[in-house]
Symmetry: D2
């Protein structure tokens, strides 16, 4: 099969650009086209539920609205993410923002109450609002658990759902997930500002977060799904948990990963998806595609294309 | 200051090689020398406790014995790692092994019951032993909790200590930590084969793993230490948790990271340590050094040098 | 300044997508938007000549047509590339193709006369045509030099222009450059299949390729330009030559680089453009932007946007 | 085969460390051990000539003395490098130095006459000496060519040899190569400060550097060697030329590359060596090993080991 030269002209739509990438079919452009085609197939397959993992500063980095949209339209069934992305979703839900162009002298930023994530910035004022608001929410949830006879025990996924139900912001990932029966798992939740506040709350209040309890819900989701497709944005714990949870049923049926990590260190974050087949975390014959690139560029690009090609 | 040309000759010791790197002082060689010097200073500083994070397949990749040695000699106070490294420590403790040179066709490996991590392999036979042994241990711990009036609730760190006390292998990271008052934190523990077995066990037995409880121990450790130095091998949750826990007291006093991840995506795994200063996760003026490289090469290299230079 | 969340919807044009990236302004998406804005400014600035460097398998990888278009429309003044890209331009000009999906067993590919560049493939049949055609062209040029009293001596740039004038393919980079007064420099030309044939030709024919002679033309181009903007696709010799040639006049006035190489090794390919300021290869105050990513994805993306925003 | 856990203790020699890496045999440590073993075999094989490629700032970065030593002891037959490394060898030969710890504000460095290569620095004073000295050398060579009836024409390799013969510094790569019948090829020579001075010289003097002429010497070297092993430090033109020159005889018989570049972009710098087999640039069955890492760390490490294991 021939590599067609890319034809780039004025007034192209995103889908026309991806079509050019598909015609070329090689190197990064080919990977993007194949990932986009696979995303369309995954969404169009009515028997396939989609698990999305989200690692790295995706909410601070501008993907909050995209994830919120996928949840609102019930295009994904499960979101597996870090405590940090949950914290930053709530930071925005409570009126905080993420900022840019504030410099790169970290000691000066610290003096000014500014936290830096590459070229994204946060302000301590916003975190103070976050802290006071989340503590109120924990109080409400703790009371509800008391009244329900739960003995103060709740799993992470259920806790996040309860939080989501108490949020006002219509663009909040947590709120939308709670309202649309999308399950959020965050096995490393405690490792975040959310987790820190949770710990502070539990020093004077009864609230036990059960680390194991979520596996019950997750395994039900895996077994209820006829097929599972995974969209893995970044690596880390969210990618691993996404693949590992599918081990229960022989592995995912299709998978897309977007990553900048290398495979040679053996770290799962950069591992080729093929490797998951050896572990029964991806099925034999499953369609797997990796794009090496920055998630904030690549995912919006393939999603903007896929939205034009999915069945309504 | 001048860059001295490297002088490489026969019969060099590791420390002579690092001394050459120090004389050059630039590019990767310079980073290695500075990291090695910092490691010596961190270990020699009697007021400094060392927190080590361990991400990626470090136990499968041959670093189990190194970590075990650091714990045995009480050179580190805290180990923060993944459920996977804990699983693989126990796999070896129960007589299993890690293997090499078994090919790269993942579908064939799957058929043969072999799991692949880059060029490291595991066998399902070994995992079967792991599963039956760890379930026995969970049973013992569950009974002990019942008898102690703990209501079946235990934090991750305490669970890992109880497991360690029940292991026979003198080279086990978990056993050595339990015996030497080294604390192991694994906030994402559930995301592993250990976690999977834990979940299966809890379906018929009472054992509630409290995700938040460890923060109590961790914060005590942070506040009890006059100074804290961090050795961060790989990124991920372990690196984040290491830095975030030090937020409670204004940040680490010194830090070394070895990583192959890039900074531009904003993901913490590849982030420059300087960034931690903005968040008060590293103190202003703290000595921070990053080596870009494969942990299995770089850490043994700097440790072999540092061991010659630390006070007994 | 605030990070705006990306808004991705159906029927987006490429420019609408880049506008979203611009609204976010951070991480990779922000870099893409800034590079695209800078490209527009560079092209719209009538006093600015554009030097483009092209390293890596950009012609095999589908960018031949894009580069050809930029030359045809005289958007670039100078192209600096590798002997390989020149060889592959001619391979296609003589009727050869690049292929895909031919497998990854390199020993079997070799047996079948197939050369592999990642997932792009070439066939030895096409190279045989290339060889016979380029030898005919060398013969014609050699005769012309004899008749002109050049004593058989020609610089690389002039040689490439003479080759271009003898090509029939209207999509050939070499032909278009020759016809449109765009200068092609390839300081490492000899290191390619083109170079190998050149050497074979010179064993029986008089043709001396003067490695130094091009500096005369290049310095004239630099001094004649009021301002110079550089588009550096990939690193290597082409990037270095692009920057170094501008040293003569205090450096480039604006620059975009797209690369996947790391900065820490000190290799110019991954070096931050800021570094060029220390060498007077980029002017103080010059606008410089780096996108970390695959050129075959990123450059078509920003070009498709820029074409909508440049003055006619 | 089993992965042995690394055993790191006091007073280790470099070879003891590499032996541990060999016992482990996996991930980066395994790659280092295999590369070191292969280096020993290559040097010990009396029928094998070694071609070394050197890209990136290896002379500024402290490897000048290592390369000089390999040439002095005639361990390598051919060195293929960039004009930059040749320039920096001469800079030191003429009394200049490379510097460190001079800051990272490139505009301020420029004002102070300091050029930056990552964390290595040069001073314009040293370059001024370089310029005046190299021009004297060009004059001498030009006169010699006139007297020899060469019509002012010389190939790059022969030019570098003539330069080497006129250098006083006993540690100069160029001088040592000239004296020890080691051939230096630098197909991209013109792209450097050396090249710039060469051009300036040729404006008023007759000296024609023949870009093609070296292929004659190089092909003789390839055909005279029974077997060829390649040590490729960094990628770029030097790596490509090393492999491409061996195409003439079916490819290299053994090869080691050390690189930080990724394979996915298709750029040769990061390409797996296996790919060279498809092109007949590496023989079928040839022993090829890649280490992903910083050359300034990895090459001294494996060389320090190999020196203990090679036959005298």
């Amino acid at each position: 099969m021939k590599v067609n030269q890319l034809n780039i002209k004025k007034d192209m739509s995103v889908s026309e650009l991806i079509e050019q990438f598909d015609n070329s079919g090689v190197l990064g452009a080919g990977r993007v086209a194949r990932a986009s085609n696979l995303l369309v197939n995954m969404i169009n397959d009515e028997d396939m539920d989609i698990f999305m993992s989200l690692a790295g500063p995706m909410v601070p980095g501008g993907l909050r609205n995209i994830v919120a949209g996928l949840i609102r339209e019930k295009r994904i069934k499960v979101l597996i993410t870090s405590g940090a992305n949950i914290t930053h979703d709530l930071l925005e839900a409570f009126g905080g923002k993420h900022y840019r162009d504030l410099g790169d002298n970290d000691e000066e930023l610290n003096d000014a109450g500014i936290g830096r994530i590459a070229d994204v910035y946060t302000r301590s004022d916003d975190f103070e609002v976050f802290e006071s608001e989340i503590i109120k929410i924990f109080k409400t949830i703790s009371n509800k658990l008391d009244n329900n006879g739960d003995n103060g025990i709740i799993s992470i996924q259920r806790l996040l759902k309860e939080v989501g139900l108490l949020i006002d912001d219509e663009n909040s990932i947590l709120k939308l997930a709670a309202e649309n029966d999308v399950f959020i798992f965050a096995p490393g939740l405690i490792d975040s500002m959310f987790g820190l506040q949770l710990w502070m709350f539990t020093q004077d209040n009864k609230l036990i977060v059960d680390a194991v309890g979520d596996m019950h819900y997750l395994s039900d989701l895996v077994f209820e799904s006829e097929k599972i497709g995974a969209i893995m944005l970044g690596g880390g714990l969210p990618k691993h948990y996404t693949l590992a949870s599918n081990l229960l049923k022989g592995g995912i049926d299709a998978g897309i990963q977007i990553t900048m990590d290398r495979p040679e260190t053996g770290s799962l974050s950069g591992a080729p998806l093929q490797e998951a087949k050896s572990w029964s975390k991806a099925k034999q014959g499953s369609n797997l595609e990796t794009v090496i690139g920055d998630v904030t560029i690549i995912f919006p690009l393939i999603l903007a294309d896929a939205l034009n090609r999915i069945d309504d």
